[in-house]
Each structure stands twice: as structure tokens, then as C-alpha cells.
């Protein structure tokens, strides 16, 4: 044996190695079942539009659950899906919140465009001032405003989406009550629904100029010839009221809890319209319990009290203003939910004494929580009944969000939960999901679509979508 033989034998050994063929696993079957995805239309509110971290921008629109669904439908004879994105030069749309880090006390420093704050970040010793400079955004504002009240909201106008009606018709802020002019029997509310294009700048940007102020959402979506639809509406019929601490705003006709009669009328009209009286396939999603989102869970009575006691060890309780007329101010209990925006207020000592309580609109007191949950259950019953009536699938988002709030969801060796910042699923506003959260939601839709239509649409890998980016 010498090196010459080695040279001779190694190629032979290498040849044997070539037999190590790459194994192949069959790709999972993709099948549309009895559904027709050639023209998929998504209707809904901010959750459908892809709203994230307090704003609507291209990065959110691109990872909205309808965009993710359309991408999976495309593998099963799905047609083109047009998302109402902003021009590249205006890609930041309405702008959004930015995250600057966690303070030494663990509180996040989150700033809206134009805001600034001074804080000492974890791992540092000196306070710094952070400013979210609006010049860093590529906004899509035109500089004009929507018509002034009472016929409009006076909000800043967003650049219109200029091509034909898109496939994602999600409108941030819209409720069933504001979407359908036949929903309410109160003329002022019905009129406001008809004039909604002058009230909501996200709706206005989707509308042709001639329709602004005259075309309600139901009429608008009825122009689209869908072969398949998703509808996730109704959240704002409870959420608008809830996020304002259970306080209706006198100037906003849609700021109260929507009554069941109006909701039923409006919701049935919307589903009837988009499903063409039950002849077009689709799925509807119901309303999650609002108390499960970080907006209401990130700031707890216990954490606020602990903060007070750091300043004053004798601090007895957290005092809140409630909607009750008999006890307008009382010590908070764990059943009262303090909202996320209250964090900056309590940091200045508000709520530490009965004479300086946390204002009513920053607290969802226990009675309001109960009222909202009762109404959510009622509205979800209407949604379920309507789904049966028009023979479409029902995505039980309420159960799903409860599951996540209770135990989180493990995906590909990551744990995700409803926690603020660290939970991966909720964006900086504490209400809207991250891109990863939207991917998880898309997978829930896919489950129900597959079950309802005998389809095999493949789920996506949520960990390929961004959670919160940490500075």
C-alpha cells in the first residue's frame, strides 16, 4: 500500500458516495375544493386593511391577512389580488408608532410621529431625549383635509388609491353601524353612514371622487364581482367604545356600543350584498373579546400601584373615575382594565389619590367590561346566524384569541402570546397584530376555508413574518 493506491481507491470510494441521493418528500397537495378563488375580495376594518402599530403603511398592507391568503390562493387557481398600497414615495402612509427601547423600569418608549420623550433605557445610566421626527416618514398626506363637521371629520386627507377598486377593501375604523346606511333607524346615524367617505380618510382614499359623502360601504363593496370573499367586520361596534374607556363621544355617532337591532340589519345586508344572496362562497369572522388584547392587559392595576408605591410606600390604591353615577371615583380592582394610553398619565402620578383619579376614558371599569362582553356575545350570535343563513364558513376568532391569551401559540419552536412587546403577535398599538400575528390569523382562515369548501390551501410559516423589531 502506498500513496499511489490511495489516489486510486479514493475516487472509487467517492463514486460510491454519489449513491447518497437527495431524498424527496412530495409537496403537500393544493386543491381549491368547491371554492373559486379567481376573484377574492376582502372586506373588513383595520384588521383586514393590515393596520399595524397605530397606522396604515405599505409594510402592513403587504402582510395583511388578505394579502397572505391571496398568495396561498394563487397556488390553487387564485386570481390577481390588488392591494391598495401607497405609492413607493409615500410608503409610510399614515405613519405609525416607533419603538425606542425599554426603560430601566421595563416600560417601552413608544412614540408617534412628532412626539418626543426623555427616558433612561435599560443598561444605561443617563436619561436621553428621544424624538420621532416626522421628516423620517414618507407620508401619504395630501395637505388637504376632509370636510369639516358635522358633514365630515376634518381629518387629514390621504392620497387616493388611483387604480380600479382593489381586492382588499378593508377600511380602518369602520364598523357595521358606519358601513351600512340601512343599519340604523336613527336618521342622523344612517346619514353619517352614507356620508362616511367624508368622515374616514381611509375610506375616502378608496372612493372615486364622485362617491365621497354619498356612497356607503355596503354599496361600495356591492360593485365588486367577488367569486370568494372574507368578511371580518363588527370589531369596531364594540372596540371604538372600549378603547375610549367605555365613553361615547358626543360628536361621533359611531362611538357607542352598537345596538343588536342595528347590527343585525347592517351585518345581514353586508353579507347578503357581498355573497350575492348566498351564491358566492366565503367566510366571515367574529369579534374577539376585546379584554384579551395588550391595549387592556399591558398596564395592570397591580403594576400601576407598584409604581405609586415606589414613589410613596404608603400609596393605598389606584383611584379611577368610573361611569357609575353613585360612585364616580373609587379604588380600582383587578377587574378594572387600565388602557395602554394611561401608561404615560399614571407615570405623572395621576390615579394615586382620590382627588386625582385616572380619567374615565382611560379605564374600562368592571361594569363596562361586562357590558362590552355581553354585547360581543350578542353580536357574535348574529354573525354566526348570518353565516348559516348565507351558507358561508365562520372563523371563530373569539375562541382563537381567547386560546392565545390563555396559553399562547407555539410555532416552529417559538412561543408567541398576547403579551405586549415580547409576545410577538401584537404590534405597538396593543390592538393590531404584527405581521406574524396576521400570518397566524391567515392560517386560522385557511383552516376554516379548507373545512368549509373541502379545499387544501396550505398554511404559511408565521415565523417567516416579522414580529416586533427591537431597537
Amino acid at each position: 500500500m502506498n500513496t499511489f493506491s490511495l489516489k486510486k481507491t479514493w475516487p472509487a470510494v467517492a463514486l460510491l458516495g454519489l449513491a447518497a441521493c437527495q431524498p424527496e418528500l412530495d409537496a403537500p397537495a393544493v386543491d381549491k375544493g368547491s371554492a373559486d378563488f379567481s376573484s377574492y375580495v376582502a372586506i373588513g376594518n383595520s384588521l383586514t386593511a393590515g393596520f399595524q402599530s397605530g397606522g396604515l403603511a405599505n409594510f402592513g398592507i403587504e402582510t395583511s391577512y388578505p394579502a397572505i391568503l391571496a398568495q396561498q390562493f394563487a397556488k390553487a387557481n387564485g386570481g390577481d389580488f390588488v392591494s391598495p398600497k401607497f405609492d413607493e414615495g409615500q410608503k409610510d402612509g399614515s405613519g405609525y408608532l416607533k419603538f425606542y427601547g425599554l426603560t430601566t423600569a421595563g416600560s417601552p418608549v413608544i412614540l408617534a410621529p412628532g412626539q418626543s420623550a426623555t427616558a433612561t433605557l435599560a443598561g444605561q445610566t443617563t436619561p436621553r431625549t428621544f424624538t420621532n421626527n416626522p421628516a423620517d416618514y414618507k407620508f401619504a398626506f395630501t395637505g388637504r383635509t376632509l370636510p369639516a363637521p358635522p358633514l365630515g371629520s376634518g381629518a387629514a386627507e390621504l392620497a387616493p388609491f388611483n387604480t380600479a377598486q382593489p381586492n382588499n377593501l378593508g377600511v380602518p375604523g369602520i364598523s357595521v353601524l358606519s358601513a351600512d346606511r340601512t343599519a340604523s333607524s336613527v336618521p342622523q346615524i344612517a346619514g353619517a353612514a352614507q356620508a362616511y367617505g367624508n368622515l374616514n380618510n381611509y375610506y375616502q382614499r378608496l372612493l372615486p371622487a364622485a362617491d365621497r359623502g354619498v356612497t356607503d360601504y355596503t354599496t361600495f363593496i356591492g360593485r365588486k364581482n367577488a367569486t370568494f370573499f372574507t368578511c371580518w367586520l363588527g370589531n369596531n361596534d364594540v372596540l371604538t367604545y372600549a378603547t375610549n374607556g367605555g365613553v361615547a363621544v358626543a360628536t361621533d355617532p359611531f362611538s357607542n356600543l352598537t345596538d343588536t337591532t342595528s347590527f343585525g340589519r347592517g351585518y345581514r345586508n353586508i353579507v347578503r350584498t357581498i355573497s350575492k344572496n348566498g351564491t358566492v362562497g366565503g367566510v366571515v369572522a367574529n369579534i374577539p373579546n376585546v379584554a384579551n388584547v395588550p391595549y387592556f392587559t399591558a398596564v395592570t392595576v397591580a403594576s400601576v400601584l407598584a409604581g405609586f408605591q415606589q414613589v410613596n410606600p404608603a400609596a393605598p390604591a389606584v383611584f379611577i373615575q368610573t361611569s357609575s353615577t353613585t360612585t364616580p371615583v373609587r379604588a380600582a380592582t383587578a377587574a378594572d382594565l387600565i388602557t395602554l394610553p394611561a401608561a404615560s398619565v399614571v407615570a405623572t402620578g395621576v390615579g394615586s389619590t382620590p382627588t386625582n383619579p385616572i380619567p374615565n376614558n382611560l379605564v374600562l371599569d368592571a361594569a363596562e367590561v361586562t357590558a362590552i362582553q355581553t354585547r360581543t356575545t350578542q353580536l357574535n350570535a348574529i354573525i354566526a346566524k348570518t353565516a348559516r343563513q348565507y351558507k358561508v364558513g365562520l372563523v371563530d376568532m373569539n375562541s382563537f384569541f381567547s386560546t392565545i391569551a390563555l396559553g399562547g401559540i407555539a410555532i416552529n419552536a417559538t412561543s408567541n402570546n398576547a403579551g405586549f412587546i415580547r409576545g410577538n403577535l401584537f404590534s405597538l398599538d396593543g390592538v393590531h397584530p404584527t405581521s406574524r400575528g396576521y400570518a397566524v390569523i391567515a392560517n386560522e382562515f385557511i383552516k376554516v376555508i379548507n373545512a368549509t369548501y373541502g379545499a387544501s390551501i396550505q398554511p404559511v410559516n408565521p415565523t417567516e413574518y416579522n414580529a416586533l423589531l427591537l431597537p
Binding site: G123, N461, L469
Partner: protein, 419 residues
């Protein structure tokens, strides 16, 4: 070629191993045995008996040195339950090696020897961005045993032997991504790198050859707990916000290198034909958890415990050799290996499954003293799927749901010199 240059060849081949027996065990010692399905406990072929059955060494007539090297070429396909792209390992080749040197008086009753081999090991590198990146991106596990051996023939039919198994080198390098993204959207990663403490175990065996046509053997190799006490922890791409939660710099962990009991039978119907049958019993149940103890909390906890719950496993082997001419011997064999990994407990570092192995081999003698051995093993791991539902019910969501399919080819070459 001198003994010294044989060693140099071995050094150039480096060390490291990959999937070739259940779990992370590697049964690649003698190249002759490799060609015969890995049998050897009931045979007295050559100096590699030190690995298979030290009791048989005294029955090996020749004194000699043999050096063996294998190349493991693993190919794997993976499809995640969420996500339909097929993922494949980054191709890499590991080279388990072995060295056996036996000495003793020409006509004496005993033989002594020294063996160096790699009974455990594992090296895998997954494709960038694969679904299981938060469980594992790459692993390199090495264990090299050095075994001084003594074997004694009580009679011309019965011999016994024992060796000290010395874990001379044990090392582990594990890397995975951390599900925290920095401002650029990059995921952070963690690397654990450590060397095991040097430790002793033993092996022992009995060999009985009642006739020219039959031999039987039994052997045992004890467990060694490979213990890393002061491994290094390195984080990369951590954002400033996440950094306070990831302050660990050192870790400790223990990985059992389990005990193996084997029995084997050798049948020699003619002088030219040898057939062997082996059964290995590996006490994998020693591997319950993989626990890392950190010197500072990692994402909130100073320990990380991952369930393994391996089960003891059996391997059945059969193989034979036939001497065609005075110089040429050919071999064939096969093995069936029961995976120690239960359903729902498959991890990316050991994506194990029941495996079927077919082997081929040949030897050629150049004159009286030199010989070359060649072998190839074709290892086919059964397709194996675990679902997210299984992971949830087992509490093993630290790994990824999906389907694995692996095949491995292990060509090997050996050089032997007898004196």
C-alpha cells in the same frame, strides 16, 4: 508504508461523525465489520475486536495495526407542517475514524492492544432560514475514545478481555436562532460551544469458540456521561432592547453516551465462508432531558430543559464474508435499527427514525503483511412525521413539526499491517 505515515493519513481525515446508528451512536469501527452489516461480537476477525468484543482479541492470531476511515454522506429532506418548501441539509461530510493496534507474544495466551475510535457523534447543518431555525441551525458533536485493552485465552476455546474506555475528546457545538429580531429584522442567534471533561468507562467481553464452525460472544461497553462544565455561550445580532435578557456567558450540560450490551454468533460452514449475527442493546433510556444550566438567565430562565425521553433500543445485524482467492475477500450484510426516539420527540439535532442498512465490502491482501479493506454502508431512515398536535400534547414545542426523510451513504477504507 510505515506506522508513522499511516497515522498521518488518519490525522488528515480529521474526526467527526454523522448518523449511522440509532440516536447519535456511530457503529463504524472495523472496515471489515462495516462491510458485514456491523457484526463482530461473535467473531475474531482482526484487531477491531477491541471495539466489538475485547474478549475475542486473544483469539486473533495476528498482531497488527489497522487504520480505518469512513466518510458519512448524509442527505435529508424536511417539510414543515406550516410551509410547503422542501428543506435540505447543507451537504457536509464527516469522517469517523478508527485505529487498532494489537500486540502480544506470537504463541502466548494473551493479547494487548490500544484502540482509538469514535463511538458517538453527530454533525448536521441546516439550510438558512429553515422552519426549525429556532430549535437548531447546526450541531457538531464529537466523542473520541481511547481504549487500552487486555485479552486472555483461558483455553483454546474460551477467551476473555476488557478495556478501559477513556473519553479523550468530547466536544459539542450547538447553534440556533433566537426569535428576537433587531431593528434590521435579523434574528439573533446563540452558540453553545464546550469540551467535555475527560472520563473513564470500561468495556469487557467473553468469547467462546466450541468448534471450528461456531463461535459466540457477549460484550458490554459502559455508559459515560459526557459532561461540559464550562462551555462558552455567544450571542449574535442581539438588539440593545433584548440584550438585558441574554447575559449568559457560560453553560453546563450533560449528555449520556449510553451503555451498550451485545451478543453475537459466528458461523463458519467452510474455511472460506464466515457469517455473523449480532444484536446490540443500547440503554438510551439514560437520555431523559437535555438540560443547559446558564450562569445568567437566558430569556428569563437560568436553565433550559428539553425533553428527550429516549427508549432503550435494539439493533439486529447480519453479515458474511467469502474468501474468493487467497488475496480477495468480499463481504455483504445488513442491519435493522430501532430508533430510540419516540413519536413527537424528534429533534432536529437527531431527526432519528428506524433505519435499514445494507452493506458491501471487500479486502485485498498485498502480500503477507499489507491489506486494504473497503466498505460501503447504505443507510435508509424511514420517513417520519410529527405533528404540531403531538408536540403540544407532549409539551415538546421547542422543536418543529414536519416530516423528515434521511439517507446516508458511508464509504470506508482501511489499511492493515500485520506483524
Amino acid at each position: 508504508m510505515t506506522f508513522k505515515s499511516l497515522l498521518l493519513v488518519g490525522g488528515a481525515l480529521l474526526t467527526g461523525t454523522a448518523a449511522s446508528a440509532g440516536g447519535y451512536q456511530v457503529t463504524l469501527a472495523g472496515i471489515k465489520n462495516n462491510g458485514m452489516g456491523g457484526v463482530g461480537v461473535g467473531l475474531s476477525l482482526d484487531q477491531a475486536a477491541m471495539f466489538y468484543n475485547p474478549g475475542a482479541l486473544a483469539m486473533v492470531k495476528e498482531r497488527g495495526v489497522q487504520l480505518g476511515a469512513n466518510a458519512t454522506l448524509a442527505r435529508q429532506a424536511f417539510r414543515a407542517e406550516n410551509g410547503s418548501v422542501q428543506r435540505e441539509l447543507q451537504n457536509n461530510t464527516t469522517t469517523p475514524f478508527s485505529l487498532f493496534a494489537g500486540f502480544g507474544p506470537a504463541e502466548g495466551k494473551f493479547r494487548a492492544g490500544i484502540a482509538i475510535y469514535t463511538p458517538f457523534g453527530n454533525k448536521l447543518q441546516y439550510a438558512d432560514g429553515w422552519e426549525g431555525r429556532f430549535a437548531l441551525t447546526q450541531i457538531d458533536l464529537k466523542a473520541i475514545y481511547v481504549q487500552p485493552t487486555f485479552s486472555y485465552a483461558i483455553s483454546d476455546k474460551l477467551s476473555i478481555g476488557a478495556g478501559l474506555t477513556y473519553l479523550a475528546l468530547g466536544s459539542v457545538n450547538l447553534q440556533r436562532d433566537v426569535p428576537a429580531q433587531n431593528a434590521d429584522g435579523q434574528f439573533a442567534s446563540i452558540e453553545l460551544d464546550g469540551d467535555a471533561e475527560r472520563k473513564f468507562g470500561f468495556n469487557a467481553g467473553v468469547f467462546f469458540k466450541p468448534s471450528e464452525k461456531l463461535s459466540v460472544g457477549i460484550s458490554y461497553r459502559s455508559k459515560i456521561d459526557a459532561q461540559v462544565k464550562d462551555g462558552d455561550v455567544t450571542f449574535r445580532n442581539l438588539s440593545a432592547t433584548a440584550t438585558p435578557g441574554f447575559q449568559a456567558t457560560k453553560f453546563a450540560a450533560t449528555l449520556p453516551l449510553p451503555a451498550t450490551t451485545s451478543i453475537g454468533i459466528g458461523v463458519m460452514p467452510t474455511e472460506k465462508l464466515t457469517i455473523g449475527l449480532d444484536v446490540n442493546f443500547v440503554e438510551w433510556s439514560a437520555y431523559e432531558n437535555l438540560t443547559f444550566d446558564f450562569n445568567a438567565p437566558v430569556n428569563g430562565s437560568p436553565t433550559s430543559v428539553s425533553k428527550r425521553y429516549y427508549e432503550d433500543a435494539l439493533t439486529f445485524r447480519i453479515g458474511g464474508q467469502y474468501q474468493i482467492t487467497s488475496g480477495l475477500t468480499v463481504r455483504a450484510g445488513g442491519a435493522y435499527d430501532n430508533s430510540p426516539v419516540k413519536d413527537g420527540y424528534i429533534t432536529p439535532e437527531t431527526p432519528d427514525s428506524d433505519r435499514v442498512t445494507g452493506t458491501l465490502g471487500a479486502s485485498y491482501k498485498f502480500g503477507e503483511k499489507f491489506g486494504v479493506d473497503l466498505s460501503t454502508q447504505f443507510v435508509n431512515l424511514k420517513k417520519r412525521t410529527q405533528t404540531q398536535a403531538e408536540l403540544l400534547s407532549n409539551g415538546t414545542t421547542d422543536r418543529v413539526a414536519g416530516t423528515y426523510k434521511t439517507s446516508v451513504v458511508v464509504p470506508g477504507i482501511g489499511l492493515n499491517y500485520t506483524f
